[in-house]
Amino acid sequence: MGAAPVEPIPTRVALAGYVDHRYFGSSLFHELLGAETLSGMIALSVGGRRLDPGERATLDDLAVALSVADPRIWPLKLTRLVASYGGTIAGFAAGQLCLDGDFIGLWPAGVAAANLVELDAARRDGGATDGDVARWLKTKKRLVGYGIPFRELDERLEALRPRLEARGRTAMPYWTSMEALSRVVHAERGLRPNIVVAAAALLLDMGFTPEQAGAIGYFLNVNVFVAHAFEAAGQRAPAMRELPEGSIDYVGAPPRSSPRAR
């Protein structure tokens, strides 16, 4: 008996040929090669459209600003722990898994972008004053993209802002909404915006959906994981594989014997 027929699963991504290949509607060798950049390919891969040079340069700026990569940052340390056995790719892959949430990294830019879209709709329905924003804010208990651990301002956003101003990105609608929201969030909750909500606004203003914004933001930050996976795999540091004796406090159940051992 043959296999039950299955409807083909559609893909917009790619088709392999013999002498050329298709990638999101373009010839890989005749239209993309020599014209696209890495950030442009990331945006194309998620959003399905090619960016103009100004947009690509903005994403390049964002990727550089995001490259805060201290090895003690939790997901990066996780990467190094797994890579310490010598596997760059295994370390890299493990480091990605903890980013699948709304707490850390750039994936939460999708949540922040969805909030900005919701705020934008609320402002269109009601008004555009800070009071309207404050009313919308009351519907949100935790607001992704606000709050900066251990410091007053997000230095990544502050460093990026002049570059965005020079490129005209800070006059765009979602960026303007984000700035309005930031004023209100600071007044109401004492929190400042971080790079996550800034990335969300930038990507929305480029026409990406919230889901695409999260994915593009995430991919623009993978270089820091590659850096740590590669270095740690080469080092194979014994102290990463096993912490030194005496550096662990056991706080679980005290020693005991099972009923069958007695």
Binding site: A3, P8, R12, L97, L243, I248, Y250, V251, G252, A261
Partner: protein, 225 residues
């Protein structure tokens, strides 16, 4: 040229030591206080160790037997399913055995996460048992549920929620819950633990580098512009 400057990881106060809560570090490991090598390994099954690790206590004889049954019901995942299919592809790509195992583990964790999400209201109902059982998200599988009931019966463990379970996953989750695994996290952990060995075995049985005998067009994927 700028100079490196200290930051929060250098200047703020951070704990100096890591906490262990289940397994003691060093030689002669203990799990929740029990000596593995001198006690548990001599008198208990591996599934008892798994249940101990997740609940913090050694199971009763009834829960021990019922949990072993549930884990065996959970264990098989065929190559028709994405985690094992992916593991086999990792093997075909000549990935290392470690890469094959990791691929299976990640896929199985995703599969388990989806199952737990699908049965979220059921797990919540098992935890609280208030009101009627929620509607089942999965198709009925009376034969499998009856087989599970028959396999669990000799353990003597009471699993009253089995009467409200018509699908296979629901029934297995009911047994896991009756064994002491409350909440989504512990059920997910048990599901992944049960499924990993057979998924790796099936994947490693696939010949490495066997690109030409792999059905590249199964299932079909069509490019659209």
């Amino acid at each position: 040229m700028s100079e490196p400057a200290p930051g929060p990881f250098d200047e703020l106060a951070w704990p100096e030591r890591l906490a262990a809560r289940v397994v003691t570090p060093g030689a002669r490991p203990r799990v929740h206080g029990y000596d593995v090598e001198g006690d548990l390994a001599r008198a208990y099954r591996f599934t008892d160790l798994v249940l101990l690790s997740l609940t913090g206590e050694l199971p009763s004889d009834e829960a021990s037997r019922a949990f072993d049954v549930a884990m065996q019901f959970l264990a098989p995942t065929s190559i028709a399913h994405a985690p094992v299919h992916a593991g086999a592809l990792a093997r075909i790509c000549n990935g290392s055995p470690g890469a094959v195992a990791a691929t299976c583990a990640v896929g199985l964790a995703e599969m388990a996460r989806a199952a737990v999400e699908r049965h979220r209201s059921w797990i919540a109902w098992l935890d609280g048992r208030r009101g009627p059982a929620p509607r089942d998200a999965d198709p009925e599988d009376r034969a499998s549920v009856d087989a599970l009931r028959a396999a669990v019966a000799p353990s003597g463990l009471a699993v009253p929620a089995l009467d409200a379970a018509a699908s296979r996953d629901r029934a297995i989750f009911a047994v896991l819950h009756a064994c002491g695994l409350a909440g989504e996290e512990k059920i997910l952990a048990a599901v992944v633990t049960a499924k990993v060995p057979l998924a790796i075995a099936e994947s490693l049985a696939t010949p490495a580098g066997s690109f030409k005998v792999y059905p590249a067009r199964l299932p079909p994927i069509a490019y659209e512009e």
